[in-house]
Protein backbone atom coordinates (compact mmCIF):
# COMPACT_ATOMS: atom_id res chain seq x y z
CA UNK A 1 0.00 0.00 0.00
CA UNK A 2 1.23 3.47 -0.63
CA UNK A 3 1.23 7.14 0.31
CA UNK A 4 1.65 10.26 -1.80
CA UNK A 5 4.67 12.52 -1.28
CA UNK A 6 4.57 16.10 -2.58
CA UNK A 7 7.95 17.19 -3.91
CA UNK A 8 8.84 20.91 -3.67
CA UNK A 9 10.27 22.79 -6.69
CA UNK A 10 13.93 22.57 -5.56
CA UNK A 11 13.81 18.77 -5.47
CA UNK A 12 11.80 18.04 -8.61
CA UNK A 13 14.80 17.60 -10.90
CA UNK A 14 15.63 14.52 -8.81
CA UNK A 15 12.19 12.95 -9.29
CA UNK A 16 12.16 13.36 -13.05
CA UNK A 17 10.17 16.60 -12.71
CA UNK A 18 7.30 14.94 -10.82
CA UNK A 19 5.40 17.06 -8.29
CA UNK A 20 4.00 14.01 -6.56
CA UNK A 21 5.41 10.55 -6.20
CA UNK A 22 4.16 7.51 -4.36
CA UNK A 23 6.07 5.64 -1.71
CA UNK A 24 5.53 2.68 0.58
CA UNK A 25 3.53 3.54 3.72
CA UNK A 26 5.27 3.33 7.10
CA UNK A 27 6.54 6.01 9.45
CA UNK A 28 7.83 9.35 8.18
CA UNK A 29 11.45 8.23 8.31
CA UNK A 30 10.61 4.97 6.50
CA UNK A 31 8.65 6.72 3.76
CA UNK A 32 11.48 9.20 3.14
CA UNK A 33 14.13 6.56 3.13
CA UNK A 34 12.10 4.42 0.68
CA UNK A 35 11.74 7.56 -1.44
CA UNK A 36 15.51 8.06 -1.58
CA UNK A 37 15.91 4.44 -2.68
CA UNK A 38 13.66 5.12 -5.66
CA UNK A 39 15.28 8.52 -6.29
CA UNK A 40 18.88 8.30 -4.99
CA UNK A 41 19.78 11.88 -6.00
CA UNK A 42 17.30 13.16 -3.39
CA UNK A 43 19.31 11.69 -0.58
CA UNK A 44 21.97 14.36 -0.09
CA UNK A 45 19.30 17.06 0.04
CA UNK A 46 17.11 15.30 2.61
CA UNK A 47 19.66 13.60 4.87
CA UNK A 48 23.05 14.59 6.26
CA UNK A 49 26.06 12.34 5.67
CA UNK A 50 25.26 10.82 9.07
CA UNK A 51 21.83 9.79 7.79
CA UNK A 52 19.91 12.30 9.92
CA UNK A 53 17.08 14.32 8.35
CA UNK A 54 18.47 17.81 7.58
CA UNK A 55 17.21 20.48 9.92
CA UNK A 56 15.70 22.57 7.12
CA UNK A 57 13.68 19.70 5.71
CA UNK A 58 10.17 20.03 7.12
CA UNK A 59 7.63 17.31 6.64
CA UNK A 60 3.89 17.82 6.77
CA UNK A 61 1.31 15.05 7.11
CA UNK A 62 -1.70 16.67 5.47
CA UNK A 63 -1.58 20.18 7.00
CA UNK A 64 0.28 19.17 10.18
CA UNK A 65 4.00 19.61 10.71
CA UNK A 66 5.19 16.18 11.88
CA UNK A 67 7.35 17.91 14.52
CA UNK A 68 4.09 18.51 16.39
CA UNK A 69 3.01 14.89 15.91
CA UNK A 70 5.58 12.18 16.55
CA UNK A 71 8.46 13.49 14.43
CA UNK A 72 10.24 10.94 12.21
CA UNK A 73 8.30 8.16 13.95
CA UNK A 74 4.90 9.58 12.98
CA UNK A 75 2.92 6.85 11.22
CA UNK A 76 1.85 7.66 7.67
CA UNK A 77 -1.30 5.69 6.92
CA UNK A 78 -2.18 4.31 3.48
CA UNK A 79 -3.51 6.97 1.18
CA UNK A 80 -2.14 9.86 3.27
CA UNK A 81 -0.32 12.81 1.76
CA UNK A 82 3.13 13.77 2.98
CA UNK A 83 4.61 17.12 1.87
CA UNK A 84 8.28 18.07 1.99
CA UNK A 85 8.52 21.79 2.81
CA UNK A 86 11.93 23.46 2.54
CA UNK A 87 12.68 26.23 4.98
CA UNK A 88 15.83 28.25 4.38
CA UNK A 89 18.35 30.14 6.45
CA UNK A 90 21.70 31.79 6.14
CA UNK A 91 23.68 34.78 7.18
CA UNK A 92 26.63 37.00 6.52
CA UNK A 93 29.85 36.35 8.43
CA UNK A 94 29.83 37.84 11.93
Amino acid sequence: MSVTVRIPTPLRPYTGGKKEVSAQSGDVEGVLSALTQSYPDLRRHLFTEQGVLRSFVNVYLGDEDVRFLNGPKTPVPDGAQLSIVPSVAGGVPQ
Binding site: G17, S83, P86
Partner: protein, 149 residues
Protein backbone atom coordinates in the same frame (compact mmCIF):
# COMPACT_ATOMS: atom_id res chain seq x y z
CA UNK B 1 18.14 33.48 -16.14
CA UNK B 2 15.78 35.03 -13.60
CA UNK B 3 13.09 37.39 -14.89
CA UNK B 4 12.11 40.00 -12.32
CA UNK B 5 10.19 43.12 -13.34
CA UNK B 6 11.26 46.50 -12.02
CA UNK B 7 8.06 46.92 -9.98
CA UNK B 8 8.70 43.60 -8.19
CA UNK B 9 12.32 44.59 -7.71
CA UNK B 10 11.23 47.87 -6.10
CA UNK B 11 8.90 45.98 -3.76
CA UNK B 12 11.68 43.57 -2.85
CA UNK B 13 14.13 46.39 -2.16
CA UNK B 14 11.59 48.30 -0.02
CA UNK B 15 10.94 45.23 2.11
CA UNK B 16 14.66 44.61 2.59
CA UNK B 17 15.45 48.26 3.30
CA UNK B 18 12.71 48.19 5.92
CA UNK B 19 14.66 45.52 7.79
CA UNK B 20 18.01 47.34 7.68
CA UNK B 21 20.37 47.07 9.56
CA UNK B 22 19.07 43.57 10.11
CA UNK B 23 18.76 40.89 7.44
CA UNK B 24 15.29 40.65 5.90
CA UNK B 25 13.88 38.01 3.59
CA UNK B 26 11.06 36.73 1.42
CA UNK B 27 9.86 34.13 -1.07
CA UNK B 28 9.47 34.41 -4.86
CA UNK B 29 6.61 32.62 -6.61
CA UNK B 30 6.28 32.16 -10.35
CA UNK B 31 7.02 29.75 -13.15
CA UNK B 32 9.95 27.81 -14.46
CA UNK B 33 10.64 27.93 -18.18
CA UNK B 34 11.94 24.92 -20.07
CA UNK B 35 14.10 24.30 -23.06
CA UNK B 36 13.16 20.68 -23.79
CA UNK B 37 13.45 18.84 -20.47
CA UNK B 38 16.06 21.27 -19.15
CA UNK B 39 15.01 24.22 -16.99
CA UNK B 40 16.10 27.35 -18.86
CA UNK B 41 14.99 29.99 -16.38
CA UNK B 42 12.39 31.30 -13.97
CA UNK B 43 9.88 34.11 -14.17
CA UNK B 44 8.89 35.80 -10.90
CA UNK B 45 5.15 36.57 -10.76
CA UNK B 46 4.89 37.71 -7.17
CA UNK B 47 6.70 38.06 -3.87
CA UNK B 48 5.63 36.77 -0.49
CA UNK B 49 7.13 39.10 2.10
CA UNK B 50 7.85 37.29 5.35
CA UNK B 51 9.26 38.36 8.65
CA UNK B 52 12.70 37.13 9.54
CA UNK B 53 12.00 34.25 11.94
CA UNK B 54 15.58 34.34 13.16
CA UNK B 55 15.20 37.52 15.19
CA UNK B 56 12.59 36.07 17.48
CA UNK B 57 14.76 33.11 18.35
CA UNK B 58 18.20 34.57 18.47
CA UNK B 59 18.16 38.31 18.92
CA UNK B 60 18.95 37.85 22.57
CA UNK B 61 22.12 36.01 21.61
CA UNK B 62 23.23 39.09 19.71
CA UNK B 63 23.22 37.31 16.36
CA UNK B 64 21.56 39.78 14.09
CA UNK B 65 23.26 38.87 10.80
CA UNK B 66 21.15 35.84 10.07
CA UNK B 67 17.93 35.09 8.31
CA UNK B 68 15.45 32.25 8.64
CA UNK B 69 12.29 31.64 6.66
CA UNK B 70 10.03 29.43 8.75
CA UNK B 71 8.41 26.27 7.39
CA UNK B 72 4.99 27.81 8.17
CA UNK B 73 5.77 30.73 5.86
CA UNK B 74 7.06 28.41 3.14
CA UNK B 75 3.97 26.18 3.47
CA UNK B 76 1.71 29.25 3.28
CA UNK B 77 3.53 30.58 0.19
CA UNK B 78 3.33 27.14 -1.37
CA UNK B 79 -0.46 26.99 -0.87
CA UNK B 80 -0.84 30.50 -2.28
CA UNK B 81 1.33 29.62 -5.27
CA UNK B 82 -0.47 26.39 -6.11
CA UNK B 83 -3.89 28.10 -5.91
CA UNK B 84 -2.61 30.40 -8.66
CA UNK B 85 -1.03 27.61 -10.71
CA UNK B 86 2.44 28.78 -9.70
CA UNK B 87 5.37 27.41 -7.71
CA UNK B 88 7.91 28.65 -5.23
CA UNK B 89 10.84 29.45 -7.52
CA UNK B 90 13.20 31.11 -5.10
CA UNK B 91 14.01 33.07 -1.98
CA UNK B 92 15.55 36.47 -1.36
CA UNK B 93 17.36 38.11 1.53
CA UNK B 94 19.53 41.12 2.28
CA UNK B 95 23.17 41.36 3.24
CA UNK B 96 23.40 44.52 5.36
CA UNK B 97 26.82 46.12 4.80
CA UNK B 98 28.13 43.02 3.03
CA UNK B 99 28.49 42.12 -0.66
CA UNK B 100 25.66 40.36 -2.54
CA UNK B 101 27.52 37.05 -2.50
CA UNK B 102 26.37 33.92 -0.69
CA UNK B 103 28.05 33.11 2.59
CA UNK B 104 29.12 29.68 3.79
CA UNK B 105 26.02 29.58 6.01
CA UNK B 106 23.84 30.45 3.02
CA UNK B 107 25.26 27.46 1.17
CA UNK B 108 24.79 25.08 4.07
CA UNK B 109 21.06 25.74 4.33
CA UNK B 110 20.18 26.39 0.68
CA UNK B 111 18.38 24.28 -1.90
CA UNK B 112 19.29 23.47 -5.49
CA UNK B 113 17.32 24.47 -8.61
CA UNK B 114 15.58 27.53 -7.07
CA UNK B 115 17.04 31.06 -7.13
CA UNK B 116 18.62 32.80 -4.15
CA UNK B 117 18.53 36.54 -4.70
CA UNK B 118 20.87 38.48 -2.42
CA UNK B 119 20.61 42.24 -2.07
CA UNK B 120 23.50 44.18 -0.64
CA UNK B 121 22.36 47.14 1.46
CA UNK B 122 24.93 49.66 2.61
CA UNK B 123 24.12 52.60 4.87
CA UNK B 124 20.41 52.18 4.13
CA UNK B 125 20.83 52.09 0.32
CA UNK B 126 20.59 49.16 -2.09
CA UNK B 127 23.98 48.84 -3.80
CA UNK B 128 23.78 45.46 -5.57
CA UNK B 129 21.26 42.71 -6.43
CA UNK B 130 22.46 39.29 -7.59
CA UNK B 131 20.88 35.89 -8.08
CA UNK B 132 22.51 32.55 -7.27
CA UNK B 133 21.71 28.89 -7.81
CA UNK B 134 23.13 26.08 -5.66
CA UNK B 135 24.86 23.26 -7.53
CA UNK B 136 23.37 19.75 -7.46
CA UNK B 137 26.22 18.50 -5.31
CA UNK B 138 25.79 21.46 -2.88
CA UNK B 139 29.47 22.39 -3.34
CA UNK B 140 28.95 26.01 -4.46
CA UNK B 141 26.59 28.60 -5.90
CA UNK B 142 26.67 29.77 -9.52
CA UNK B 143 25.49 33.25 -10.39
CA UNK B 144 22.58 33.57 -12.83
CA UNK B 145 21.71 36.73 -14.77
CA UNK B 146 18.69 38.81 -13.74
CA UNK B 147 16.62 40.37 -16.50
CA UNK B 148 13.86 42.97 -16.18
CA UNK B 149 11.39 41.57 -18.72
Amino acid sequence: MLTLTSSLLVRMHQHLLGGYPREACGIMIGQETYDGAQQSGKIVHDLVLVSNAWEVESEREGLRNRYLISPEDVARADREASQRGLDIIGFFHSHPDHPARPSETDREFAWPNVSFVIVSVEAGQVVDTRSWVLRDDRSAFDEEPITGS
